[in-house]
Symmetry: C2
Subunit: 359 residues, 2 copies
């Protein structure tokens, strides 16, 4: 059931509330799109960090999950029997992480990425004597200018290095595209696939991602698999970009007004420790539902400042529902969150299994 | 001992490292200034969230600690026998927090603040039948435009409300000033003190805070007590403002270069989950020690992007030491950190007792 006014009034704030019914609709919406277009879905769990939500994504048709860290993958696998296939879209380096990776590979079907020979060498050393080889995809820079080999030719070269490395098997190509980058993805991946296949190496997976452009994923038909993350909860950045509406935002922060020190200013108990300082190109730090006129113009750790042009019309003790700019980073900050759903008789408190894993 | 090159090479990154000797020097520097000027020091623990560091601050001469949350105060008191006097500089509202506050008041000398009759009423109800009254200071807005009563007259009115409220005793005046706000503090507090004393109520404490202006605290001689927080570690925002040098920054984030995908770009494994998105008015997300030419121009959760005008000269696997923009928010993100000191034979891993307490 949705939270009653009484339950909201009694919440100890700031509280992070997830509406599981909205999350399920968000999951279905993209799964339906992917099914129509013959795309596999591999959701990125960074947004929810909850094994139970991964289970819902897998039940809806996802082929596996995506993680950005070995530690997050460990926490997810430990929390769900349904997770059998994990892609870690990160260059994994260093003895400690490679050891963890090797241990995890014994539990699930595991793939990782690499964009340099140095990373491939580390992976190969760690898996040279493994019973099963580790699947490694080449990360490609298709315009986001973060990680990734710069050209299809470089992708083909690195595919050969992986193919020849003891303990490894080449798994395909991966990219995190620039916004509206479908044409660039299509062009880069088509060329890279051809160059790699010319060397007699199969390219079985081409994986792209990102919620903002997910409903245009089919514009790059070379892509076989898509990794949306934020789509499960949505947030203010996605509403602002026209990807969804406020009623499709599954994660809200409930805050209490702790001060109304001026006619056009109020202070809430959600600051950067709850809403985070992530702006994602926006102005202001979140949206107060039902109050288009309010700007959250400043955060300190424990205070959020709300300002209006006219009278703010709030009183001390009022509870507000806020859609944060960026849902993923909020999830990372909380040890647990309140989950509501029509088929729950009571709101439930769920620990966030993979929160706060910075290493 | 400082970390050896070997120890840095073996660190599992991103890692937060605190040099306790630098922290001790930072603590002494302000304590010496305060002693000369007859100011009491009540450090804000939000920066370190470590009972053992509070112990050092108290041993150096601090009269007590400042917290922003009841939950952080609980964690600090639970972790240190030396903490006997706690000021919570926050409007505390709601049944759950008031109950926690009442329990904590039985363990230490406790003060809180209020800036409205509503907050005073809640505190009074919670302490009406307590054996000892709760000390409440009036929070005053001296220009930062966050919380606080707007005028000395309003401060005096609220002081009377506190003085007459069952279970409470008026404790004085508190402000978090605007940058370089000493003149405004002096003027507001002098007037408020006079108005309150005219009503026959003593004003025993006038407390101000903030690291950026701490070495100018004596310019507001009406202030009796000062609450610096970030001064213990310092950070890039304070170096940029001329408050300290890089070698006075006690907290560093050690990151590994995971990709060098272009001649003038490198990617590290410290993103917004380690360095945070806090800009504090700066450009870029931290300073790479020894590399004035590098800009950390973009963070996603697990990637930090480093760019240079000329060749970046880094290779995959290199370790970098970074001074974050804002030390306090980094502390909140980590379950533990690595502590080094000349008198430690080995680096120690300390759990961050009061981290991640969003409620």
């Amino acid at each position: 059931m949705p939270l009653s006014d009484q339950q909201i009034a009694e919440l100890n704030t700031p509280a992070v509330v997830v509406d599981l019914d909205i999350a399920k609709k968000n999951i279905s919406r993209f799964q339906d799109y992917a099914n129509i277009h013959g795309l596999k879905v591999r959701p990125h769990i960074k947004t929810h960090k909850l094994p139970a939500v991964a289970d819902i994504q897998l039940a809806a048709g996802a082929v596996g999950i995506t993680c950005q860290k070995v530690s997050e993958a460990e926490a997810m696998v430990a929390g769900s029997d349904a997770i059998k296939d994990v892609l870690i879209t990160y260059n994994i380096l260093g003895a400690a992480k490679l050891k963890q990776l090797r241990a995890l590979a014994g539990k699930v079907r595991l793939s990782v990425v690499a964009d340099s020979a140095e990373v491939v060498q580390g992976l190969s050393q760690a898996f040279a004597d493994a019973a099963e080889p580790l699947t490694v995809l080449v990360e490609c820079n298709t315009g986001a200018n973060r990680c990734g080999v710069p050209t299809p030719e470089a992708a083909a070269e690195l595919a050969v290095v992986i193919d020849q490395a003891p303990g490894l098997v080449f798994g395909g190509l991966m990219t995190y595209p620039a916004p509206s980058g479908e044409a660039a993805v299509q062009s880069f991946m088509t060329d890279a696939k051809r160059l790699i296949e010319e060397k007699g190496i199969a390219v079985t997976v081409i994986t792209s991602g990102g919620t903002p452009s997910m409903m245009h994923a089919a514009k790059a038909p070379v892509v076989t698999e898509y990794r949306p993350g934020t789509y499960v909860y949505n947030d203010r950045s996605l509403v602002t970009r026209g990807v969804c509406g406020w009623d499709e935002c599954a994660l809200n922060v409930i805050a209490t007004v702790v001060s109304v020190p001026a006619e056009n200013r109020a202070i809430i108990d959600a600051g950067s420790k709850a809403l985070t300082s992530d702006l994602l190109g926006l102005t202001g730090y979140g949206h107060v539902l039902g109050r288009e006129d309010i700007m959250i113009d400043q955060l300190s750790e424990e205070h959020g400042r709300l300002v209006t042009e006219g009278p703010i019309g709030l009183k001390v003790g009022d509870k507000l529902r806020i859609v944060p700019n960026h849902a993923c980073v909020v999830t990372n900050l909380v040890d647990s969150l309140t989950v509501i759903a029509e088929d729950m008789s009571e709101p439930e408190v769920w620990p966030v299994a993979a929160r706060g894993l910075i290493v």
